[in-house]
Symmetry: C2
Subunit: 498 residues, 2 copies
Amino acid sequence: MDGPILVIDRGGGLPIGVQLVDGLRRGILGGALRAGDQMPSTRGLASELGVSRSAVVGAYEQLAGEGYLEMRQGAPTRVADLAPHDAAASVATAAVGTAVTPGVRPQEGRPDVRRVSRVTERLARPVGERVAPRIDLLPGRPSTSRIDTRAWRSAWREAAARDIPSESPRPFGMPRLREEIADHLRMARGVACEADDIVVTAGTSEALSLSASALAVALGRPPVIAVEHPGYPSARRTLELHGASTVPVPVDGDGVVVEALRRMPRPPDAVMVTPSHQYPLGGRLPVAARLELLEWARETGAIVLEDDYDSEYRHLGPPLPALASLDEAGRAVLVGSFSKVLTPWLRLGYLVLPDNAELRDAYATMRADDRCPVPGVEQDAMAAMLASGSVRRHIAGTRRDYAHRRKLVLDALDGLPGAPLSGLDGGLHAVVRLPDHAASAAVLARLEAEGVAVAPLADYSAVPGQEEPGIVIGYAGVSDTQLVEGLQRIRAAVLAAG
Amino acid sequence: MDGPILVIDRGGGLPIGVQLVDGLRRGILGGALRAGDQMPSTRGLASELGVSRSAVVGAYEQLAGEGYLEMRQGAPTRVADLAPHDAAASVATAAVGTAVTPGVRPQEGRPDVRRVSRVTERLARPVGERVAPRIDLLPGRPSTSRIDTRAWRSAWREAAARDIPSESPRPFGMPRLREEIADHLRMARGVACEADDIVVTAGTSEALSLSASALAVALGRPPVIAVEHPGYPSARRTLELHGASTVPVPVDGDGVVVEALRRMPRPPDAVMVTPSHQYPLGGRLPVAARLELLEWARETGAIVLEDDYDSEYRHLGPPLPALASLDEAGRAVLVGSFSKVLTPWLRLGYLVLPDNAELRDAYATMRADDRCPVPGVEQDAMAAMLASGSVRRHIAGTRRDYAHRRKLVLDALDGLPGAPLSGLDGGLHAVVRLPDHAASAAVLARLEAEGVAVAPLADYSAVPGQEEPGIVIGYAGVSDTQLVEGLQRIRAAVLAAG
């Protein structure tokens, strides 16, 4: 590719936003813009190129999402460090190039007039050689490439064409969507629920914060909630940030240790568990233990929050019955979302409430004043996607994809000495345990230097000082090629640290 | 109109959902279905008519939204009581026909096979005489009839056509939308803010619950927040449900009494105020009092939550500067939303954070784990609506509409003996004070019997035992004709109670 990069063509060519993204991406991949370079302010670049500021903002945002730019709190936007293919060369740049993580507030660069001309000048130079983008294997990201975009667009179009009400959606969500979610859960998960058992939520985070608050309403004081150790750190913090105290309960190869709950001198008010696929270690709670857990809940009056985050993806046989299906005492609340099944971009999930009037009243009290946070247009669009069968087809398609990805993980990482692989019976992630924290640190440093993002297993600890050495790998959110490349680098890093 | 009502035409006619809604609506208006009648279960009617269940659910939902059906917690769906034109006749049915209120969990009727045939039989009879639908003058509902549906649909279509990311939107919202909101506030409100000052929220409720939690993070304990008395009851409860304690602070004709804050033996950690248009009484805080309030905040270290809920609609001259514009000490947080400007159906709002690193960190801590609750598609759609100027044009158009509506209110209700009218300098509502609680009760009972929904002023009290007699009227969410009709009924009720 030759010629200048960032020349906006107004003559009926591509949309300006697309041209901007392409031009800047080519500039970065071609080396015209280098790692750490400060980008011009959006205002400056817009005026320099004679385009709208929002077009430039949109382009920066898209490139940051793709990992080419970095936006950080209190700092100007910069070109990200893209790990070069040559691992040896990249070790020198190991300090730069971490991802934008949640909790870091993105911020646009302040205007810096002097830099505008320099960068646009350099963007007008011919393209040089390509360097590889980073490979994001952080857990929690599904594959969106297979989403039926025709069905997606038509669902949103249909939803946007409806009359526009002048009120908030109903507190527990729109009847049409609650009906579709109940139908979906009956068919896909075997949970015998009705529309009026469903609460539409803004994803699992909101489901958990709502549950913490509802428990406080029901109890008249902040609840104590037991959480799995190791377990989902963000869920634990969400419960705590919404007034709950958490206490750790250990997990073994099967999931939560019910006996440990029984041994607690003061039973907690609730326990949050991941019985389908313990997060992150991967255990599946046997039916006998599920019944025992429900019996414990019945005896103590505790509520069981069942985070059923990825039960759609069981690679070895169908999932076991949800606690919600086995519960006869009105203790189990099922927490689900469309974040893994479609994308967290939707911020859409649901709760299935048990037959427990006191608990339902507490959720209704919360939602009466907080309102349903999920926009009506999105509720309509999701109902249409569920009704058309496109969600069901998407799950079937991605199930095949993920089974294939899982095989790629096994091919690359199974049987490495001192590094057992686990968590692979279901879902979208795998765990590689490592012999000690020194090995963990070495693997993580090398992968960071090579531009492969994975999560430290230590982050999942619910007990300070009881961190386990290892890494957690998400295998869904990248292409097969990127995954294979990333897995090879992980293999090499683990072998080198062993 | 003659002939049967509910006959589904599959021969290329109207969509089935439209036919269902029309047929059922005609059945209700025509008297084939009567107030209090239990509707068939959605499953039953769907099977009876040979249509999909979700079509029936959608039709029930739409009719409930229009006030024709009532869905209530734990009860089957019933035909609502539509107030007849003849007020004398309607007194007999006064006990039925209250609206679906927030906090009541909507629920579909359980299957009731016996009723299916009866109702569908009656729906097959010719249409009789029309009765009037109820008139909803509850405050908080804007007019949506003027929304530019072309711009609305095109914004959603454009948003749905973008690539689908596999992650959550950034914690504080998408840069493109934050940029557009900052531009909007600079132009429409004169608030000198930048994109990185903006937090995108799921409406005012979420902005307030987030703020209560962020204050708790910053303080390391639950905050004490002063709230206006009388004031917005839902906002007060939201703060309390999210762990804050509230203390009342009185308002006078100008809004919050700053001196009363100064006199508090222990200053609260924050105060929530409505300086543009005190809700509900209507006072506008003078600039001197705004500066005094900010000075108090600076001295005591308190945060001022400025709920700027309807400053777009000032009927007598432009709004005074926002506290956020006058604040030099980093104490004022502006809370805004698109609920009044467009519709609460969006569940979309924003915070403008002051220059206060500690406070920003606290909000960032909350959002790091809670995630941004607003779907990416909606953030893109709203950015497009703001960028295209359609929001600005909509505000200009509705401003004229509401000025006209306000005149209708003055024409009907100004100068009634013993019933002073207030709150009308801005916004979408008015207050009629009444001499005593007996008069209030009489007016409310008569209006309920006549199918006119208004809010009791007593509900706004923040101090038990200090309820004020009167009613609060929203004048935006109905047609001019309905408003005139409703106002005449209010006038008659007030005169009768005087």
